[in-house]
């Protein structure tokens, strides 16, 4: 039990780091490439042809990774008026419920994106250069998977808290 727990914690830590590094890496390139494109256009009247579609797909990746991080930090935009009226234990129970619902919806979103990727794979469309669309859209199931996982963990924690009645 203890070993499994350490393993799970370790993998989650690894996921977090990896996610952070990929985000910073992508965003740095995004800023550089976007600036390079405009310099090329204004001063040399040219540009990298695949630069713009690449940028747009990087935006998609950055946005989805940002969303998974927002899940980790509990910073998704929501309407939070009712739960504040409840005591801690009630709040934890409500949070467990909404997190569980969110995790379930994310599983459906994973399913939807896998079907989409299958269709794109069969169609063989290209996003830019020789990069097929299905590869760049793999971020959808990955991001929704991470989001579902985080909502699941949070739901579990809050559920336990509601049952135990205290934070520890």
């Amino acid at each position: 039990m203890g070993g499994l727990r350490t393993f799970l914690k370790g993998s989650l830590w690894l996921f977090d780091k990896l996610e952070y590094l990929v985000l910073v890496f992508l965003f740095t390139i995004m800023v550089g490439l976007a600036f390079l494109q405009i310099v090329l256009r204004i001063f040399f009247a040219t540009g990298i042809l695949w630069g713009d579609p690449l940028l747009r797909h990087m935006l998609l990746w950055v946005a989805l990774l940002g969303a998974t991080m927002a899940t980790k930090e509990g910073k998704h935009i929501n309407i939070d008026v009712i739960s504040k009226l409840f005591p801690d234990r009630g709040q934890a129970a409500i949070q467990a419920l909404t997190d569980l619902f969110s995790a379930v919806i994310c599983v459906f979103l994973i399913q939807a994106s896998l079907k989409f990727i299958r269709d794109e794979f069969q169609a063989g469309a290209l996003a830019f250069l020789k990069v097929p669309t299905w590869t760049v859209t793999l971020i959808f199931p990955v991001a929704f998977g991470l989001i579902a996982l985080r909502f699941g963990i949070s739901s579990f924690r809050n559920g336990a808290m509601a049952i135990r009645g205290s934070a520890r």
């Binding site: 976007a34 940028l55 998609l60 950055v62 927002a70 929501n78 009712i82 419920l97 619902f101 994106s113």
Partner: protein
């Protein structure tokens, strides 16, 4: 089935389920009920990667977070103070202008109150403005810049409605000036009433203040001229801004360290990701609603009951104020705008005018009790109870509502710059 699930969804939303989940769930369920494959939801979300303008959002947001951590807010306040400090109510007007410009440049994410509040609040108090006035001023002016380039909601309105961004920018200028002007009048009145000492304008301080900001001042000027002249696109302006802000704040002023940048990237992308994932979900859901001709059905219903454009506008204002108090500006933008746009067009309302009405309305919603985001941010920043901020922002809300009425019922205010630029 539809009715029952709608109630469950609304209930879950009110309990605090993230809005992107609520909207995704509605889209998945709606498409399922009409027999579409769920992959259509992803197809719609993937449209994010085919909207060139969207690249501007993370770049501006990132630049805004860097600016907020640098000394730029101090220099902005110092310069406005040097130029306007001599007016009665001068510091309050300085606060208004500084907040407006800063909000426009940081994309209306609540950063303004955090970045400028700590500076302006003690300054206002030391000049004998009442605490209530100062709190109300800083809370409400955090959303004044919404109508000015390059505010994120303005760009996103253009993305959602496919309205020409240049036209939106032109449309927002005069209404924004009106909002700032009316609040400035109120500040002058309060300044005279509190016998606030006014400083003298000296050439020396103006020169010094300009000199201190010499590396930052050219950027907004270049970007604004570039965009308004149509020479650079909004996404390019964002790229220039992000790049130059890094060079200036990290390289020249050295107020933000290079190793702070990854952290700021993460912070800003959490915000951007939270916004864009709602956009993705909303693209899918509104596609369903439009496919099901929901706007047309609402329109038929309205046409039967509301004959005049004026009554429609009044209803629209009331409706948007309610929406603004309930949900945040981005969700409202993504879900409500696509529904309202065709209806408003049928009533003969120009899309640019509609956008300005919409953003002014939702901007007011930022500071409207019970759930206006600015109220909570200000409460957190100034360490005052939210209830106190409700009361403090009331007179400002009254003025803003008055301005909203003018903006709504005098379309030419938003449109004459647009028409002037049109051939």
């Amino acid at each position: 089935m539809m009715f029952f699930s709608s109630i469950v969804t609304v209930g879950l939303a009110l309990l605090g389920t993230p809005l992107f989940i609520i909207i995704s769930a509605s889209a998945l369920l709606s498409f399922h009920l009409v027999g579409y494959d769920s992959s259509i939801v992803t197809i719609e979300m993937y449209r994010m990667a085919n909207t060139p303008m969207l690249i501007a959002i993370p770049l501006f947001a990132f630049a805004g977070y860097i600016l907020a951590e640098s000394g730029a807010p101090n220099r902005l306040v110092r310069l406005s103070q040097a130029l306007l400090g001599w007016l009665p109510g001068g510091l309050a007007i300085v606060a208004l202008l500084a907040c407006t410009l800063f909000t426009a440049f940081t994309g209306a994410s609540g950063v303004t109150i955090i970045a400028l509040g700590g500076l302006l609040f003690p300054a206002l108090l030391s000049e004998k403005y009442s605490e209530k006035f100062s709190l109300g001023l800083l809370t409400t002016s955090g959303s004044l810049g919404l109508l000015l380039l390059p505010s994120l909601p303005l760009i996103l309105y253009g993305v959602v409605t496919k309205t020409d961004i240049d036209q939106l920018f032109r449309g927002g200028i005069v209404p924004c000036i009106l909002l700032v002007f009316l609040l400035s009048l109120f500040s002058v009145y309060k300044g005279l009433e509190a016998v606030v000492p006014s400083s003298r304008i000296t050439l020396r301080e103006v020169t010094n203040a300009i000199w201190a900001a010499k590396w930052e001042l050219p950027l907004p000027i270049v970007v604004l001229i570039g965009i308004y002249s149509g020479y650079i696109a909004i996404s390019e302006a964002a790229a220039i801004t992000a790049f130059c802000v890094i060079v200036v704040e990290v390289g020249i002023y050295r107020e933000v360290r290079l190793r702070d940048l990854p952290r700021l990237m993460q912070k800003s992308m959490v915000l951007v990701g939270g916004i864009l994932i709602i956009l993705g979900a909303a693209l899918a859901f509104t596609n369903y609603l439009i496919d099901a001709e929901v706007p047309m059905k609402i329109l038929d219903f309205l046409k039967a009951h509301i004959a005049s454009k004026l009554v429609f506008l009044i209803m629209l204002n009331i409706f948007l104020l309610l929406v603004g108090c309930m949900i945040d500006i981005f969700s409202a933008l993504f879900v409500v705008v696509p529904l309202i746009t065709p209806i408003a067009q049928a009533y003969g309302i120009h899309p640019v005018h509609l956008g300005i009405i919409f953003l002014t309305n939702l901007g007011i919603g930022y500071s409207t009790p019970p759930v206006g985001m600015n109220l909570f941010i200000a409460s957190f920043r100034f360490g005052r109870p939210v209830l106190k901020l409700y009361v403090a922002s009331l007179p400002f809300l009254a003025i803003l509502l008055f301005a909203l009425m003018i903006i709504t019922y005098v379309p030419s205010l938003s449109l004459f710059l647009v028409k002037m630029a049109a051939p």
